[in-house]
């Protein structure tokens, strides 16, 4: 597999009335063509902000660290995403190489314009496609994502579609420009489980069919286990652990990942106690020193290195990294 996007040392702060808030800190990862990369994290973990930075979509008050670098590899050579400024330049990533779908499909479609018009509009904008061709492609895409009678759906409004169908239409629209990367930000969170299952299977089929890359953002480890090839676990803006999805879920190397798994109610053992992670997610204004997770990590002895020093991402198994000091990298059970 070849690299599609390299994210290196990504640090993002936001200017607010209360000062600079660090939302993403020193995040590095690579997205390969033809893979689904899962990005897991709770609220405030910086997963959405990280994803938006790939399209340079963060608000004006975002400040990127001087070391931050996002490189998109295209057929015409590499593009430094963070140096793009004008709307014209940005079109290369926004809707061109990268498409994004959001959590709430009702809010993503304009309510007073038909689904079809919205699909055609972006094709005309990004690919200069004539209307008739754009219409044909849109209807074909609606059909591909499993929407029945696509030509009549084409002329309907978002409110006329059910939740699952809306999310499918959103996916069809995002894929019709043939992006290299689809960013899916909590695409199934607002859906019922039965619909969620359909959307998960649809996205897996699409990766196999189009060979694109999906960055799948969710807070749900079960969804990740089913859909992703690799996963990165984020907490308070840092990657705590990343690696192949089987390794990370079966042999989690970081206390946070273990904590998340232990806190999940599991259907195969109803008597297993639910173990919450102690404490609360701190406010971004009160970022802990050292390892950001240390105040909630019950496995640490008081006075440990993690309270003062930021642990590096150590390789604990081939391709499997965790934010632990090297002396702890071997003790994973």
């Amino acid at each position: 597999m070849t690299a599609l996007i390299d994210v290196e040392n990504l640090t993002i702060q936001f200017k607010t009335d209360e000062g600079l808030i660090t939302v993403v800190e020193n995040v590095s990862f690579t997205l390969d063509r033809g893979e689904v990369m899962g990005l897991v994290g709770e609220s405030g973990s910086g997963k959405s902000v990280t994803a938006k930075s790939l399209m340079h979509l963060n608000d004006e008050n975002a400040v990127y660290g001087p070391e931050s670098k996002i490189t998109l590899h295209t057929d015409n050579g590499p593009i430094d995403v963070l140096s793009l400024r004008t709307a014209r330049e940005l079109n290369v990533v926004r809707g061109g190489a990268i498409s994004m779908i959001f959590q709430e499909p009702m809010a993503s479609f304009a309510p007073a314009i038909t689904i079809g018009k919205q699909m055609v509009e972006q094709l005309q904008l990004h690919l200069n496609m004539p209307f008739a061709e754009a219409r044909e492609l849109s209807i074909e895409m609606l059909d591909r994502v499993g929407i029945k009678e696509p030509s009549s759906r084409f002329d309907q409004y978002a409110f006329e579609l059910s939740g699952g169908m809306r999310q499918r239409a959103m996916i069809a629209m995002a894929l019709s420009t043939k992006p290299s990367l689809l960013i899916a930000d909590e695409p199934t969170t607002a859906l019922d489980v039965t619909i969620q299952a359909q959307v998960i299977n649809l996205m897996k089929d699409l990766v196999a069919e189009f060979g694109m890359c999906i960055l799948f953002i969710t807070h749900d480890l079960g969804v990740i286990a089913q859909v992703a090839d690799r996963v990165a676990v984020m907490y308070l803006g840092r990657i705590m652990e990343k690696g192949p999805v089987r390794d990370v879920i079966r042999t989690p190397a970081h206390a946070y990942t273990r904590g998340l798994i232990n806190a999940l109610p599991k259907l195969d053992d109803l008597d297993a106690p639910l173990t919450p992670i102690p404490g609360d997610i701190p406010s971004p204004l009160e970022r802990p020193s050292g390892c950001v997770f240390h105040p909630r990590n019950a496995e640490l002895e008081p006075g440990s290195r993690y309270e003062r020093e930021v642990p590096p991402l150590s390789e604990v198994a081939p391709g499997h990294f965790a934010a632990v000091f090297p002396e702890d990298a071997g003790t994973i059970s």
Partner: protein, 282 residues
């Protein structure tokens, strides 16, 4: 504790000059009995009528036909016909915990005032001292730091807010509580804590809880009895163990099969529930 017989809640859709107006059958001929001291789960997808059923029990949704009986051993009510004068007592006995702890708490009231409000509105205490005493007592039970009582909700995280919400629901000493998606808005690492708290409060205060949720795995862990709702009807009802070991209804099986497994090697093989004559929205 709660006995529901042939309950229907219909909401009219517009009016017709001739003939009867069409209705949404939010709850359709439901009979259910919630035993005293149980942690009773009500599961369903969006639009299944689970929230409307919970609201009907609390007399917050209109009852079209059928009856709801309430009996906690001290008081008995026919919920549909409670007189206005008795409603205050019923409200004290049957309370609600909301889903979204960000929307449920007034940003302009201190935590103490939020928790004390039910006592003051229902005039359950003889004075400020007794109110404060009750507030402190329930706050401690809900594991809230007493120093936090003077602060405003914005200072708290989602988990702490939900503990405040629970304290507010329990301060008047209810015997029956409807928890409607009480953990749905919370992060996983916090959700487990709130579930454990609800479970221990249920035992400690001898509560009967109707726990409404879309999440089968959550229900499996806290409830001892589960009812599955779909399109306004109860599809299946059984003890938690029985329901998860031997789901008796196709819809329950479809729901269970749609839950993504944490094991990447157990593929998601969701079955589709398509009863004959139903309209499929794909």
């Amino acid at each position: 504790m709660i006995t529901i017989d042939n309950l229907s809640v219909h909401f009219p859709l517009g009016r017709r000059l001739i003939g009867t107006a069409p209705v949404v059958k939010a709850v359709d001929d439901v009979s259910l009995s919630i035993p005293k001291g149980s942690f009773f789960g009500l599961v369903g997808e969006s639009g299944s009528g689970k929230t409307t059923l919970g609201r009907a029990i609390l007399r917050a949704a209109p009852i079209t036909t059928g009856t709801i009986g309430y009996n906690d051993g001290e008081a008995r009510y026919d919920v549909g016909t409670i007189a206005k004068s008795e409603l205050r007592d019923y409200r004290r006995r049957a309370q609600l915990v909301f889903q979204d702890p960000y929307a449920a708490l007034s940003p302009r009231m201190t935590v103490r005032d939020i928790i004390a409000e039910p006592l003051e509105v229902m005039e359950l205490t003889s004075g400020r001292e007794e109110t404060d005493e009750r507030v402190r007592e329930i706050a401690a039970k809900c594991r809230l730091n007493l120093e936090h009582l003077r602060r405003y909700p914005h200072a708290f995280s989602g988990g702490q807010r939900q503990r405040i919400s629970i304290a507010r629901a329990l301060v008047c000493g209810p015997r029956f509580v409807v928890a409607d998606e009480a953990v749905a808005a919370l992060d996983v690492s916090i959700q487990a804590d709130i579930l454990n708290l609800l479970k221990s409060l249920q035992r400690e205060l001898d509560l009967t809880i109707l726990f409404i949720s879309h999440d089968l795995s959550v229900v499996a862990h806290v409830c001892n009895h589960v009812a599955v709702m779909y399109h306004g009807r109860i599809m299946e009802e059984a003890s938690t163990r029985e329901l998860f070991a031997n789901p008796g209804h196709d819809y329950t099986r479809a729901l269970l099969s749609a839950i993504p497994s944490l094991d990447p090697d157990v593929p998601l093989n969701a079955q589709v529930y398509a009863p004959e004559g139903s309209v499929q929205h794909q």
